[in-house]
Every structure is written in structure tokens, then in C-alpha cells.
């Protein structure tokens, strides 16, 4: 289905129609931030955000997730039962992160049933960026402000309208379902769509990652790691806000004779993450953990999946309490 538009005045009708059939998540105002959340009756969509503070991974791989329950009779799996969820407003960089997570969680040898169930039920309606942030560098790591890769539908905010393009079979089917609410775009609509896709990338300051994977291997023992990690507090905000970080732990909660098993996000920046029962910790120092985090994103995942597991969203830069900047670390490695 080719590009179609919904005038802003008709947006509520369209959303209500979607909400009748599916859970609908979109950008709404919560506690002073624009957050991706279930759109309530009184919610207005807020389209003035650059990106969400937290990455969308939590929609498919929640921070805390019940995976099974147990009692004297054994353990029973608890699979997600949310049904089809339409997610509107994910930025193209974050959409790419979902493709990276797919490689981990939908790996043929061991499919993760929890992720798979949510992924299968998710319709991703991405929203192209018009105003990238100073911390953005998606164009250097395989993305683009108006990139459609991984999206089911790609939307453009044309000020007076939203323009939708079906990018996958699932996305085209979604648009067909709601064809009654969609109109053919005018020439002006298409012109303004094209302006976004051509102008937005120019607002991004690119970084250089050429040869980075080999350089990282070469300079694993370099003193730069200890030096550049010196200010790091080991708070882990870079990993929790990273759209591709997917480390987790499994934790049991016991209530008398029964209990639950939870999957909980973890961070390789925490010493306890790799600490073994014997007391041995293969990544004992903070700088070793930071090196591991960078190596994982720009080396290990390239070797294992052929992809840099960084989408250039800039969250680790924007949220770091001591202003560590992954772009600088990358540049230091390349200059070594």
C-alpha cells in the first residue's frame, strides 16, 4: 500500500479505531517526559519529542518479566498474553535495535519464547526524525533519520498530517485494515515528506567507525581503557538506556511453598554481573567492564552477527552522569 495520510484533525478517530482492535502505544506525556505508553482516553499524542528517554526494548524484553511459576508440582511457563500491540512513534534508530535484538533472541538454535511472542504481536509504526539531537549519529552506524529498515510502517510528521508508508507485509496489512481512515497524499504532502528525509540526515554529525572492530582487537591491552574509564562511576545507566543491551539475570521469589521466576535486566557494568560463587571475577575492575561493553558493541557482535550493536541513539552520552562520550572513546581507539 502506497503512502497515505491522516490529517491531524482526524487523527483521534484513526487512533480510536486502532484502539478498538489492539493495544495502542504512542508518545504521550508522563511525569514531564514524552514516553511510549498505552494511549488513554484523555491522552493527546505528543509529536514534539526528539526521542524517548528509555529505549523500546522494554516493550519486547521487559525490565522485570515473570517467566514461570512453581510449586510442589513443578514449574510452569508463563508466556506473554498481551495480544497484538501497535507501537507508534519509535524512531528509526531504535527500530534498528529491534533487528539486532532479533538476532539474539530469535536465534534459531534457541528461540526465546517470551521475546518471540511479543515480537510476533508487535506492529512497529516508526516515526521519522525531523530534528536529530546533538548526540545522534545513526547515519554512521547503518541508520538514517527516515530509515525504514525493520519498520512495519514508517510515518512522517507533516505538521498538519501524518503520512504513513507500509514497509513490511505486516505493515501493509495494518494500513489496509484502516484504509477507511487513510487518504491519498497531496503533492505538497509528498514534497514535505521528501524534505524531511533529505534534510534530517544533514543535521547529524557523523562519527568514524571504519576499521574499529579490528582496532579494538588490536588494542585490547592498551592503557587507553584504564585512562578513559577513570571518571566512570559504574552506574550502568549507559546499559539500561541502550536499545541493544540485552543482558539479564534470572531471579526467584519464594512465597512459602510456591514462587515465581523473573527475568530482570542486568548490566555488564556491575561487578556482581560476572562475579562467580568462588569469588573470582573475570572483569573485576571498572575499566575492564567498560572495555567489555565497548568491545561487545563494536567487536563481538560484529564477529557473531555481522552487526555493530550500536544504533547511534546517543542515550549513553545524554544520560551519563560524568559526561562520558562513547564517540570520544571510539575516536581514541581509532587514533591509538
Amino acid at each position: 500500500m502506497a503512502a497515505h495520510v491522516v490529517r491531524k484533525a482526524d487523527l483521534k478517530k484513526f487512533i480510536n479505531a486502532v484502539k478498538k482492535k489492539n493495544t495502542f502505544l504512542g508518545p504521550v506525556s508522563r511525569k514531564g517526559d514524552v514516553t511510549l505508553a498505552v494511549v488513554g482516553l484523555d491522552d493527546e499524542l505528543v509529536l514534539s519529542y526528539s526521542n524517548f528517554k528509555l529505549p523500546p526494548k522494554t516493550l519486547l524484553f521487559p525490565k522485570n518479566e515473570l517467566i514461570s511459576t512453581y510449586d510442589d508440582n513443578g514449574m510452569v511457563e508463563v508466556l506473554p498474553s498481551e495480544g497484538e500491540v501497535v507501537i507508534f512513534g519509535i524512531r528509526p534508530c531504535d527500530v534498528l535495535s529491534l533487528l539486532h535484538l532479533d538476532k539474539v533472541f530469535l536465534d534459531e538454535e534457541f528461540v526465546d519464547p517470551y521475546y518471540q511472542e511479543r515480537r510476533r504481536n508487535a506492529v512497529v509504526v516508526a516515526l521519522a526524525c525531523t530534528e536529530p539531537m546533538k548526540t545522534c549519529y545513526c547515519t554512521s552506524v547503518g541508520g538514517s533519520p527516515a530509515g525504514e529498515e525493520g519498520a512495519d510502517v514508517l510515518a512522517f510528521d507533516l505538521q498538519d498530517a501524518l503520512l504513513f508508508e507500509g514497509c513490511s507485509e505486516k505493515g501493509r496489512a495494518f494500513m489496509k485494515t484502516y484504509a477507511d481512515y487513510l487518504q491519498k497524499p497531496t503533492k505538497a504532502d509528498l514534497a514535505s515528506r521528501n524534505k524531511i528525509s533529505s534534510e534530517a540526515p544533514k543535521k547529524i554529525t557523523p562519527i568514524n567507525v571504519t576499521g574499529l572492530t579490528d582496532k579494538l582487537e588490536e588494542h585490547f591491552e592498551s592503557s587507553l581503557w584504564e585512562e578513559s574509564a577513570q571518571p566512570c562511576l559504574g552506574c550502568g545507566v549507559c546499559t539500561f538506556t541502550c536499545p541493544t543491551c540485552h543482558c539479564f539475570g534470572l531471579h526467584d521469589e519464594q512465597y512459602g511453598q510456591r514462587g515465581i521466576r523473573m527475568r530482570v535486566h542486568e548490566s555488564c557494568m556491575f561487578p556482581s554481573y560476572s562475579l562467580e560463587a568462588s569469588g573470582h571475577n573475570p572483569r573485576n575492575a571498572n575499566w575492564e567492564r567498560m572495555r567489555h561493553r565497548i568491545m561487545h558493541k563494536f567487536h563481538s557482535t560484529v564477529r557473531n552477527f555481522g552487526d555493530i550493536f550500536c544504533v547511534g541513539c546517543g542515550r549513553c552520552i545524554a544520560n551519563c552522569p560524568v559526561n562520558l562520550d562513547i564517540r570520544e572513546t571510539v575516536a581514541e581507539v581509532l587514533h591509538e
Binding site: 517467566i67 514461570s68 512453581y70 510442589d72 513443578g74 514449574m75 511457563e77 539474539v104 533472541f105 530469535l106 536465534d107 538454535e109 534457541f110 528461540v111 526465546d112 519464547p113 517470551y114 518471540q116 510476533r120 579494538l216 582487537e217 585490547f220 591491552e221 540485552h246 543482558c247 539479564f248 539475570g249 534470572l250 531471579h251 526467584d252 519464594q254 514462587g259 521466576r261 527475568r263 542486568e266 555488564c268 554481573y273 560476572s274 562475579l275 562467580e276 560463587a277 568462588s278 569469588g279 573470582h280 573475570p282 567489555h292 568491545m295 561487545h296 567487536h299 563481538s300 564477529r303 557473531n304
Partner: protein, 286 residues
């Protein structure tokens, strides 16, 4: 995407049939487990060197090497060291026979037994890292398998006589004339009449031929480190020196990220690695 997915996070229920205290310090116990369900038993196919997650509801899960042989009928065995700070190992050690726990797996790769066919095999173990090596020795000594391998040499050491694992089996191995077994302790006691000396030293004395030979070596990091030099001096090629790594794990299936060593996941790409592969990793392990 298919609808039918085997949930790799769901442990299979097992009964703790027998518990054997292995050492004087009583912090090493072997747990003999049997599956509660016939279909779980028949679908659990494992190879020497693989591990499984032992799942104790309420405490959590730990990755433990499988110590029984794939040819042992009806049961699985795991030898577990209890650490005071180890939640799962402490819970396991507190269990009684007849308790019910869970097993997830088998996971990881295995020792290259197919490639070892027709070759001499040297097995070097230290302390309680003897578990998957014991699985391998039991497997190779099985009547249907012994002929597939040439000379089998075992060098096994522990801190003290009381810390040697599988004492009855060690005796059997020493008595067999189709293998050479060298047991050693770092420090003897008044009853110990056997060898005294560190594993690398004994290895030098035994000096097994590297001709057409593969060596499987498992032990604490410090022992591994000091065993590599004599092995290389004896002429063993880095690709014929095989070891097994351990790391903290949550999932066992290459997702949770914990066990990463360089670009490898110990759970999925290992736990068995050749010395060759380990030397290639950016992270210096040995």
C-alpha cells in the same frame, strides 16, 4: 515463526536419588538425579563435556558440568562444590535424597571424542575440575568404546588425599591394565603412600608422548597456566590441547551475556575450547 517452541528456560523436574559426599571438607557432593518424566529422560541426549543448569526453585540456577557418562543408564550425575557465598550450591548441599529439583540442558559443546578416535588420549585434571573429565573417562572405558582409543593416560591431582574426587573409580583406573593412571596430591598425610607433587611437575615426570595424541586438561586457572608450558614442551600442538572454561551464567543459551569471553560465549561456543582458540582471543586467559 512457528507456534511450537520448546521453552529453553523451563527446567525438567528431577529427583535427587543419591547424594555422595566426595571429600573430607564435605563441600563437594555428587548428586545422582533421575528424571520424573519418561519423555524428559528420553529427550535429554548429552555428550561428554557438556553442562546443564541445575535449577533449585527459590534459590536459582547454576551451570554445572555433567559428571556421568552418556552411557550411564537412567541417571545424571553432577559434582557440586559448595561456596559459602554461592546461593544455589548452598541450597543444593542442603538437600536430602528424594528432593525434587530441575535440570535445563544439556548445553554447550563437547570434547572432540570423534576426532580423538584412533589417537592416544592424555587426561589431566586438577581438584574438582575432574567432573566432565570423569564423564569422558567413563565413556571411553565402556566396553563398546575402549577399542576406539589408543593409550589412555590420566594425571589427576588434588590439594590433599581427602580432596580427591571419585576415590573408588580412581582405584579402578589404577588397577586397569589398559590405561595409565597417575594420582598425585600437593601435600600428603600420614596415610598417603602415593605420589606427592603438583600436576605440572608430575606431568613432566610422566612425560606422555605427544605423538598422535590429544590432551584434555581441566583444572583451576593457576594449574592450567602452569600445565600449558610442559605440554607445549612435550610437543603437544595448541589445537590438540583441549580445555573447558567456566563463567557465571544465567541463561546457558547465549542470550544473557554473562559468560562472554572475548567474542565467545562460554555457554554456547564452549565450554570446551582448544588452547589454540583461547590463545587467539583478545582476552588473555592463560
Amino acid at each position: 515463526m512457528s507456534n511450537v517452541v520448546v521453552n529453553p528456560y523451563l527446567p525438567k523436574p528431577v529427583i535427587v536419588e543419591k547424594i555422595y559426599i566426595e571429600n573430607e571438607a564435605k563441600d563437594l557432593k555428587t548428586f545422582r538425579l533421575s528424571f520424573c518424566n519418561e519423555e524428559d529422560k528420553s529427550s535429554f541426549h548429552y555428550l561428554c563435556g557438556q553442562f546443564a543448569m541445575l535449577s533449585v526453585p527459590g534459590a536459582g540456577e547454576s551451570p554445572i558440568g555433567i559428571a556421568s557418562s552418556p552411557l550411564d543408564p537412567d541417571y545424571l550425575e553432577f559434582t557440586v562444590k559448595r561456596y559459602p557465598t554461592g546461593v544455589v550450591t548452598t541450597a543444593l548441599h542442603g538437600m536430602e535424597e528424594g528432593s525434587r529439583i530441575g535440570v535445563r540442558g544439556p548445553f554447550g559443546n563437547c570434547f572432540p571424542l570423534d576426532e580423538m578416535e584412533g589417537r592416544n588420549v592424555v587426561i589431566i585434571g586438577g581438584g574438582f575440575a575432574m567432573t566432565t573429565l570423569r564423564s569422558t573417562i567413563r565413556y571411553m572405558l565402556n566396553d563398546q568404546n575402549r577399542g576406539r582409543f589408543k593409550n589412555i593416560t590420566v594425571v589427576y591431582g588434588a590439594r590433599s588425599p581427602g580432596e580427591l574426587l571419585y576415590k573408588n573409580e580412581l582405584k579402578e583406573w589404577e588397577d586397569r591394565d589398559d590405561m595409565d593412571t597417575y594420582i598425585t596430591v600437593d601435600k600428603g598425610d600420614e596415610n598417603w603412600k602415593g605420589r606427592v607433587g603438583f600436576v605440572p611437575t608430575v606431568l613432566r615426570q610422566v612425560a606422555p608422548s605427544s605423538e598422535n595424541a590429544t590432551v584434555l586438561v581441566c583444572g583451576p586457572p593457576i594449574m592450567l597456566k602452569f600445565t600449558m608450558l610442559p605440554l607445549l614442551e612435550l610437543g603437544f600442538k595448541p589445537e590438540s590441547i583441549i580445555t573447558s572454561l567456566e563463567r557465571r551464567m544465567s541463561c546457558g543459551i547465549g542470550k544473557c551475556g554473562r559468560c562472554a569471553v572475548g567474542s565467545e560465549y562460554v555457554c554456547k561456543n564452549g565450554p570446551v575450547f582448544s588452547y589454540q582458540r583461547i590463545s587467539e582471543l583478545s582476552e588473555k586467559l592463560l
